[in-house]
């Protein structure tokens, strides 16, 4: 049981760390909290408190780093659109092409509608 909790703790903490460095960093809160719970459970379930001391400490350490990173990113990351120059150029080119095409189309007399 304690081994299972420990393994789950490791998996969730590493998952949280991976998520924290991706743009989906806010989701990292979910596995991070799960990792803390699994870490605590391992500690509570194991009778010999010294047995898994080091691995539990490691799980907590990874989780705390993840939480710090995620919180920092949540507070300081502003959503800004990247470079759209290429799209704007394409848009201008498309408009020119479209107007040319529209000139050739039979458009009903709009003013009479």
């Amino acid at each position: 049981m304690k081994k299972l909790f420990l393994v789950l703790g490791f998996i969730t903490s590493i998952l949280a760390l991976i998520l924290a460095v991706t743009p989906l960093f806010k989701i990292a809160f979910i596995p991070a909290i799960a990792a803390l719970i699994f870490g605590l459970l391992t500690f509570v379930v194991s009778k010999d408190k010294q047995q898994f001391k080091k691995p539990i400490q490691l799980v907590f350490l990874i989780t705390i780093i993840t939480l710090a990173l995620t919180t920092y990113k949540s507070v300081f990351t502003e959503s800004q659109v990247g470079n759209t120059e290429q799209m704007e150029q394409k848009e201008e080119q498309l408009e020119e092409e479209s107007i040319e095409e529209l000139e050739g189309l039979e458009i009903d007399d709009i003013d009479n509608q």
Partner: protein, 259 residues
């Protein structure tokens, strides 16, 4: 049955020539698209809906444009630069020309539809980029019904509907041409709700969207759009159910509105 069918045909022809009382040139709506998982909101992209006038030697048309661009932190993972535009009659919102130019994580595709309601067909041009960088083109003529529109025009057309005359539970079908196929979109008026938006507290029409012959957007109450219950009928919020969590579209700003 015959009289019902003829009534339906007359109604659908009216639908296409319905007057535009809502959309004006110079309007700009900015949205933020995000992915919501258990209340943890991850902003993905910025969506802009813009209108402008376009002049040809013979007439002045309305250009409806929708663009989507991922935020800079996503660009290195999955860069999206999508452009959808439609050139329409400013009085009836009947489309003449539609362009779709998408770039989604390296996948590039271009579509152009030239509408001809007189001949009830669409001349479509598709251009796709191969992996080696070369492009290939496919030209097709697609038969359409008298009330078939493109995606962008349909979005604006929904705003132009007389929702204030409808009663809760009413629904209407729209035929949309997408990827050279006609798809029927069903819009259902669910209720009137007051929600908090970036534009303030707004009373809104809550509309359910569902596609009848497709696997995406299944069910009518999972995919909902809120339009302000005023004359502008601005889409302020949209929610789409996906496998895990949900997608959201929230308004950030609206300028150049008609009323």
């Amino acid at each position: 049955m015959k009289s019902f069918l003829s009534l339906l045909i007359i109604l659908s022809s009216f639908m296409l020539t319905a007057q535009n009382n809502t959309i004006a040139a110079g309007e700009k709506l900015t949205f933020s698209a995000s992915y919501n998982m258990n209340g943890l909101l991850n902003e993905l992209a910025q969506v802009i809906m813009e209108t402008s006038t376009v002049k040809t030697s013979k007439s002045t048309l309305l250009k409806l444009k929708c663009t989507a661009a991922t935020y800079s932190n996503w660009d290195s993972f999955f860069k999206i630069r999508d452009l959808y535009e439609s050139y329409v009659n400013p009085k009836t919102l009947t489309p003449y020309l539609y362009n779709r130019d998408i770039n989604e994580g390296g996948y590039e595709k271009f579509m152009k539809y030239t509408f001809s309601y007189r001949n009830k067909n669409v001349a479509s041009v598709m251009r796709k980029k191969r992996r080696d960088g070369t492009t290939w083109e496919e030209k097709k003529t697609v038969k359409i019904g008298s009330s078939t529109r493109d995606l962008v025009t349909t979005l604006y057309h929904i705003r132009n509907l007389d929702i204030h005359k409808a009663t809760i539970g009413d629904s209407q079908n729209f035929t949309v041409l997408f990827d050279n196929k006609e798809t029927v979109v069903r819009i259902k008026y669910l209720s009137k709700e007051t929600i908090n938006t970036a534009l303030g507290k707004k009373e809104c029409y809550k509309l359910g969207i569902s596609l009848s012959n497709s696997n995406v957007l299944k069910g009518s109450n999972d995919n909902v759009i809120w339009l302000t219950a005023d004359q502008n009928k601005v889409p302020v919020y949209a929610k789409f159910k996906i496998a895990v969590g949900s997608g959201e579209l929230k308004i950030k700003s609206a300028t150049g509105l008609k009323y």
